[in-house]
Symmetry: C2
Subunit: 331 residues, 2 copies
């Protein structure tokens, strides 16, 4: 039992490839022995064209799940072997229609019995496996179409990272971290204004003593992020001063800080959480929207919004729940 087999699911793709190559090689050998000038990789094209009228390169590529250069190359070889002919499409001068020649059709019918043999023996092989592997592959491709391996693993990694982030409450010794983390993003996107300076100089007085909260995200003994909840009134908090250090971006610290803040606000009896952010901070905005925050700019606040370059958002805590994981298609 070799290591690829031992590895089980981890090397699943390798095993599929190995099996595929093994089968392919045998089939090549069979063709070679039948002494037909025919390569296995031509098969799908030959088969497709044998069933339909001439098709364009991209259409064939689409049907076969290959790229158009692949079809271009296969087509070139088959053209040289005299199996297909090509001519321009009258309706669209860009398209080149590939169709079988008489020779191509003859080869196809000559190979038909061999294909039947291959098909039958593959069926036998599948039967020997004791299960309907073809149906399994169908289902697997269906599952992958719904959520690809990339998204699956990525979600899992995110969850793992999320679990690794520890959220801790404010302690005086973290005051400097609060300032540093906030300066980091303030300085790179805006400039630190007097109003900010006051807040960073005395978070305890400005936030906590007003009934607010400050959280820190800890990863492997490092403080990598922070967020603050400022109490507005008995039913609302403002989420503010959230920052994650550049080195730890993408490790779900922001997400966990946000969740913690929202839950804390709810525990404290609030019904809404508001926040102000900037259109510059695309990632933050996306995060907020993900958690259910919606635009909160009044109709006549629009001009103000753009003048101050600020987005105002709001989250109703009634019935709020942690949103379903989702991976919107990346650009």
């Amino acid at each position: 039992m070799d290591i690829i087999t031992q590895l089980g699911p981890l090397a699943f793709a390798s095993r599929l490839r190995r099996l595929s190559e093994h089968l392919m090689k045998d089939v090549t050998q069979i063709y070679r022995e039948q002494a037909v000038d025919f390569k296995p990789r031509w098969f799908p094209v030959l088969y497709l064209l044998n069933q339909t009228s001439p098709m364009s390169i991209t259409d064939i590529a689409k049907d076969l799940g290959l790229t158009h250069p692949a079809i271009n190359q296969i087509g070139g070889a088959m053209l040289k072997a005299g199996l297909i002919s090509s001519h321009k499409d009258d309706k669209d001068e860009r398209r080149r229609l590939l169709g079988l020649t008489a020779k191509g059709r003859r080869i196809a019918s000559e190979l038909q019995p061999v294909w039947d043999d291959i098909s039958s023996e593959t069926m036998n092989l599948i039967r020997e496996s004791g299960m309907d592997i073809l149906a399994g592959l169908d289902q697997m491709e269906l599952s992958l179409a719904q959520c690809g391996m990339y998204d699956r693993v990525r979600n899992r990694i995110k969850h793992r990272q999320y679990a690794e982030i520890e959220i801790i409450a404010y302690q005086p010794k973290y005051k400097k971290h609060f300032a540093l983390l906030n300066r980091e993003w303030l300085e790179s996107y805006f400039k630190v204004e007097p109003h900010d300076e006051e807040m960073l100089a005395d978070p305890e007085g400005r936030i906590i003593q007003n009934g607010g909260f400050i959280f820190f995200a800890k990863l492997d003994d490092d403080i990598v992020g922070t967020a603050a909840l400022m109490k507005i009134d008995d039913t609302s908090f403002e989420l503010m001063k959230m920052g994650v250090t550049a080195k730890a971006r993408g490790k779900q610290a922001g997400k966990k800080l946000t969740v913690t803040a929202i839950e804390k606000a709810r525990e404290s009896g609030a019904r809404t959480v508001i926040l102000h952010t900037s259109p510059k901070l695309k990632i933050a905005e996306r995060l907020y929207r993900q958690f259910g925050f919606v635009d909160n700019n009044g109709p006549d606040d629009r001009s103000a919004r753009y003048r101050r370059n600020t987005i105002s958002m709001k989250l109703e805590l009634t019935n709020w729940k942690y949103p379903r994981e989702e991976n919107p298609p990346e650009p």
Copy 2:
């Protein structure tokens, strides 16, 4: 539903490859995002070396089911990335032992959780398929190890060809075919002697009127082979004058002629069939042995055998039955 899926077992290998590539691509993307300088194709090597002491290139190749140049190239890349180190084997100056560096070991442990994620998600995917595809692959590889796709299909093709050969009895109009087919092999391997000429000139008188038989193999309206059964006495026939035209070699005509002759001899009450052939005719000899003919040269016949360059063979018809198909390993 695309055409590859439609084709079912015929495009089974293609589907396996497609699925494998899809998975591989996603895994590449995951690695890339983890910002580790690591290529998926390095994985098996890293994993293997992480479990064992340094190994030589060919040993790794053997374990992973790849060729040694592949390992050479992967090794080169991993060496450049600082994941492995290499040094000559003291005991064998040809061998170059590859082992993980500290960095390699670190990367391996960093990637471990990601591998676990990939493994779990693949397991999920397999579970979603509704069957234990891994076990199916195990069984399939086992089946293939016992009899590869090449042999399976080849046997099937042979059977088909065998069925396509029609054996017909002697008719006067085939006299010229009998002569032509025999001249073809006589002239290319030996020279036609007076004894042969007589036989070819009057097969009816020499063979059939003596209680023997002549058969022809017909393929697509062409007479492609012949064989004769000469009656020796009440309990034995001699199989002789068997020839298949070059164009139809390998299409099982010889086999079907031999079977027909053996069965005819038995029906006619014979207990043995003998034949004389030449060591030059390797393929014929193999065919005869396949059907159970054994050497029939007496102990003091050895010298004679070599002088006359003739092999004498014999088949006992008692309990004779059509031999099991077999594909001895090709040279």
